[in-house]
Amino acid sequence: MGMDQTFKNKAFKMVGTRPERPDGFDKVTGRARYGADFNMPGQLVGRILRSPHAHARIKSIDTSKAEALQGVKAVLTAADLPDLSDGDSGLFNTLENCMARTVARYDGHAVAAVAAVDTRTAKEALKLIKVDYEVLPHVTEIEDAIKDTAPVVRENAKAEAGLPHNIGSTIEFGHGDPETGFKNADVVIERTFKTEQSHQGYIEPHACVGNVNADGTAELWVCTQGAFGYRQDCASLLGLDVSKLRVTSSEIGGGFGGKTHVWAEPIALALSRKAGRPVKLVLSREEVFRGTGPTSATKIDVKIGVTKDGRITAGYADCYYTSGPYPSVWAELGATTAFSCYDLEHVKTIGYEVVVNRPKTAAYRAPSAPMAAFAIESVLDELAEKIGMDPLELRIKNAAKEGTQSSYGPVYGPIGFGETLAAAKNHPHLKAPLGKNQGRGIACGYWFNIGGQTCTDLNIGVDGTVTLTIGTVDVGGSRASMSLVAAEELGIPYEQVRTVVADTSSLGHNDMTEGSRGTFSSSLTTIFAARNAIEILRERAALMLGIPVDDIVWEGGEARAKGDSHGNLPALSLKEIAKAAPKTGGPIAGHSEITADGAGASFGTHICDVEVDPETGSTRVVRYTVIQDAGKAVHPDYVEGQFQGGAVQGIGWALNEEYIYGEDGRLQNPGFLDYRIPVCSDLPMIDTHIVEVPNPNHPYGVRGVGETPIVPPLAAVANAVSHAIGVRMTHIPMSPPRIVAALEAAKAG
């Protein structure tokens, strides 16, 4: 059913308020059930054997002793996973990443798995599996990988003639002619920036319980950002009918993109199929780091030119992004977003996807954008200094706005970038004095946000309470937001609506909660489903009152007769209509099944103050402000939460988080001790300011907000550190040894 999704300005009663979330009680009492909190009768324990080599041919696997061990019910290798990808290389890569077939491609690559009666037996069984490896040369570092002499990571990876063999694909964006633009510049700066690989770092490791019956029906309980996506992937990989596999998403303990790909789930199902019993498979933290997907490491060469009065004349970037062994879209996303904040006559970006012997890269919150922003925003900062212009003024002068052709092609509709810059300009943070060894940095960022396939059911119970069934997994409080939207549309109290997240058998397909689409898409279908329900409520009211349905309006949670001729008729509340529903035509429900399009981009501007100890290189964030356009903040607490959480992930990455590989190609720090994410004592309060420039393609103006907050921090922190120490930092993370080295190099040079 087509429904109008154009923005209509209105005064809200519910949307924009801050009620308590419906899942709050369970989460503060420990009752909420996450991936590892569920059990099926008769379940076995699944464990995975992983390659200790960064690159090795698997000559043979002898599972006989493991199979013979008392208590072992199934042992799995790639021989048990036939290739059903039928030419779909993406699906084949997923299959191979779940379990190596002939080659182990990174330290931690799964090579076999067992299902046993308890953990002790499963661990014992893994030790009894004999894998005969032929170790091959490996390459883990981006600069080594793009050399012509580098070991070949993937036999078929090569993008095109003339390029190094480990470049799996390239892509280009832009318009105009940068060479002309650079000629017109008064100042041109060219720099190379590097960022190391970081992991999403969700506190909950991947966990699932899978059960496949002999008749091909199956069920999967799993922490995921999208039950439907996991169902599709698992069914395709294992040759199951999609409709016969019921996937239920547990509560999820963080995802940030890392739980939009399958890792161990197909293995759990395959083990179950072989063993004839359910299998519970929970990854350890070490396995999460070694065997699931971090984001790309990057090397970005940037060149930007400006006139002396601050107009950018040209921008150019070569963006090298690692993808692990499987080329994907990471360089493309970097090349897309790099200059997206600015109005440029001449711009060109080229993305190079580099294959390396590291885990398969997965999406991490605004994938690829933070690194590109680091490069561009750092150079802009340096240019501003060179021409004696305030760095914020330089952004304001060149900001993209409605009607600007973006650096990746399309012309922007109404966007809120300028508003975030104006809010930053007026923010007290900019006027706060700085102390000794302190520096301030600003940076901007963007994410395009997406819509996608979305289904929502709104069922009205006979007692007038409403069950809203959505398909987008709730990662951070969106159930509260959806309840607010339904309450707003129906004109009933928030407490009368209960939002639940459906399993795959209970609702039509929903795309993952990713791309900042959860609130945008599900609020859209919630609005449509509510309006659908209201039409039915009006019809029922018309029947109950004996008047034409065109004479009924829905207002304030009631059906009211309009006009004078029905003056004495009582209004009918939702409760009253619901109670009569069995007699007036049956259960009342509204539905919406759409491909949500028209997601609005979200821009942000961040301000960061740091203090750097010049002796140790230790950096402390002293003050941080996030200003971002939300279009319309449905539940402001959770919008602020996204701003703060994304900013802190960026701060951790900027100052400390990185994957460290040894000469042997093995990950040296697969644990939270040495892969240290920010802790409470590292940080100040994170101030937030929500800007609202309505998205014209959503009835309430909602824009996705989840990803943009991680885009500016690498640059904001780097600019702050660079000012604090008087040396330009070009390598993330700026851990203490790197800062000390930069200071020493500056002293020597």
Partner: protein, 82 residues
Amino acid sequence: MVEVKLWGALSASLGSDTGRVDIEAKTIGELLKKLVEEYPGVEPYMTRGISVSIDGVIYRDNWTKELPEGAEIYLLPRMAGG
């Protein structure tokens, strides 16, 4: 007839120097179908996924979406998130 602008790699695969092609189509579905018919070199990009931007609003798979007269139409790689 609509004028369609293309991102770099797609432009090359269509053999277009200008970064634009003209296609006779009223909806996204027709546009994509005609594109493959007239420029078979574009097929691999179709499989990979294309998004269509109409006056700055990005559409993914919606074949029914109409292409308004005079709208700015831009073909991009399919967008995803995290």
